[in-house]
Symmetry: none
Subunit: 221 residues, 4 copies
DNA sequence: GATGAATGAGCGTTCATTCAT
DNA sequence: AATGAATGAACGCTCATTCAT
């Protein structure tokens, strides 16, 4: 089966054949990505995806054995190719706690700005509870671990001022702007995802963060 | 709308039938509410709603001429019957700014805790951009206005420390805990919607708020 | 719901509405019957059935919640409306054993001749093992009981000359002619389901039966 | 067919490839055989067959230009390689009529016991009338001829006691036990295809046969 | 006000088959 | 000889919606 003996060392013809499948699969993922993000799992039909990718509907099932698996593949692609890079950026450097926190938030904001669709996709799935819950846990886990790694040692584990509440507060503060962006446009009269607006928001978040850190992490300044 | 416009008095037969109709419509709304909240617009069929309400499917179209209109009606019911009450609570009293802010946040948290489904429903719709955008604007507008009314006079209108950013930060801080509740359960090992956990969260939010107000609204103490 | 108060005692208009559904369901069963018999479960599509009945495909699922249930309904209809009549005919009368046996075989042959399709349907399902096995058991059970009731007392329970082997032999002798009828036509050059041929076959079976009874049930002559 | 037509000798590479092809085709037939027998033509997909054989789906169409032709090939393989052997066994020996009949039945029972799947496959096709009718004729023809050769000279050609009825009776008596085997298991509480049960059944058939021969072929004892 | 009957369009999925390599 | 890629048609089934009563 995979013996592949002597095949004349390939040449570009061979290459073409091999690439064809991969390329098609990639095109399907791309199409699925765009559609799932804007309309959600139930709002997208397999036909939509196939048409958007310019292939026959049956091909979707040739590459992904079900619609659900295609959806998972879209999520996994994000998770694997980019969330990892995010964690790397958050973790590296041996700076002090304050710097690590600011760096971590920056890395996370970088990630959201680069993948606004992914954030919304995840957010929507969370609102639908149950289904895909473990996929979301997979997404949250590294973020939460980062939160524990920076706040865990400084704040108590329970109560209103515990590390976990702190983390959720900062997380919400950071992500909600992007979630609500489509509404903020008409409301504020500016493009909230424009370069200038994003920089301004980032500055705001860092300022808030600094204030809170001043208040609760004084000793680690 | 619910003003019950007398209908020629009619005799008790008429009255009975009229009441029955109102009651049926109410039952349909109730059923739609429950289902749309947990599964979203595309995840619920008209049949589901009718069955859940215990009436014939065709009745859905008798009372709401399409599925979309039923969905809108669910949203409107919330908006009209409850969001208004929320705004009232936020606005009333002539206390000083700090108190008004804390009172406003409390009123909003009360509302979310009482209608956790609605929050998620709205959040999900926001993630789907475009569709129902004006419905969401309708939801956001009074909140945003409240934000302007308390922060507008104290902070400048633009830049990283403007009122609008402040509002979004507090809003995100407050709502995100509830949005992520389904994930926090497994992650934290406690029921995040339990009485004790909710009280703790509320206390946390007020503490964060106090800290930020201390830093940025000193002069209005 | 089922209160149905005062509906003007129906009249033919009411009657029409009621009949419409029953009639359509009946037409679907009729169509399914014809098709399943000639082509088997897997050889017939729901679309085929609907088209054959002259209704929309979706109606099939309105009346029968799956293709399998439609199939079962076809089988049940036979079983209930006719197999019962068969058993009645086989059981009644207080004649002696020989007469009861001949009468039973006659009743069975009557049944097969009247429902040649059903026999073949059952036969085919038997060849496909497993699936629908209990449906077939349901069909066989009364026949087998009859066999036991007439042979059980006269022959031993085990061994080559036991009642159960005797029953299977007579059963096979009787039914196989009808199963193979489509082949016998070309082979014999006559219509094996023609009136004359059927009478001849029946006479043959009785003759064989008589011979076997002479040999094994002498004492009960 | 399997005469292995030398193909220019070619060197071992050629030979290898040729053998591999034959072997693959054989493996496909084997897989198709198993599947068609248990699930019927419509219950098996080309994909099933290919997977069961461990080869690519497209190969099925390389060796058998359609699914139907693969099905026919399965039937033909049985007919050619085994039905012939059956006929040989039935025909050979120049013993007297009685012995030839018993020997013929034994050979047929041997065949059924060795190929229980084939019998059911044929039986199922018979129940589906029309389709594949000539394939079935091919199967029946030699059996029928054997029947004519042993009974034809002794009994009249027409009427209830004619050779053809006699043949059908014995044929049905013999084959039906095997056809109904899946039902007899639950019904009798024993494995009807177990060694002991088969021997018992065979003894029964010979006993019945003997009784009938005693009655109708006395003069040829 | 309320229902059962009916439908066409679409759903996710599988089919047998073709083709370039 | 053998394969992966590709497809159009069909599969069983559900959908939102209409209509006569």
């Amino acid at each position: 089966m995979a013996t592949n003996t002597e095949k004349k060392s390939a040449g570009h013809k061979e290459q073409e054949r091999y690439d064809k499948g991969v390329e098609t699969q990639e095109r399907l993922l791309e199409a699925a990505d765009e559609l799932f993000i804007t309309r959600g799992f139930d709002g997208v039909s397999v036909n939509d995806v196939a048409q958007h990718a310019g292939v026959a509907k049956a091909l979707v099932f040739y590459y992904f054995k079900s619609k659900q698996e295609l959806f998972d593949a879209v999520l996994d692609r994000y998770y694997q190719s980019q969330a990892q890079a995010l964690m790397d950026a958050m973790g590296n450097g041996a700076r002090d706690t304050r710097e690590r926190i600011h760096a971590g938030i920056d890395a996370y904001l970088d990630f959201i700005e680069k993948n606004p669709g992914y954030s919304r996709l995840i957010q929507r799935e969370i609102c639908s509870s149950s289904r895909n819950l473990n996929k979301i846990m997979q997404y949250m886990a590294p973020l939460y671990q980062w939160g524990q790694s920076v706040f865990g040692g400084l704040l108590r584990a329970d109560g209103p001022l515990s590390a976990k509440h702190f983390f959720m507060t900062i997380f919400g503060m950071a992500i909600n702007y992007y979630t609500y962006a489509p509404v903020l446009g008409p409301l504020w009269g500016v493009d909230p995802m424009g370069k200038k607006a994003l920089a301004e928001r980032r500055e705001h978040v860092h300022a808030m963060l600094e204030t809170l850190l001043d208040a609760y992490l004084q000793e680690y300044r």
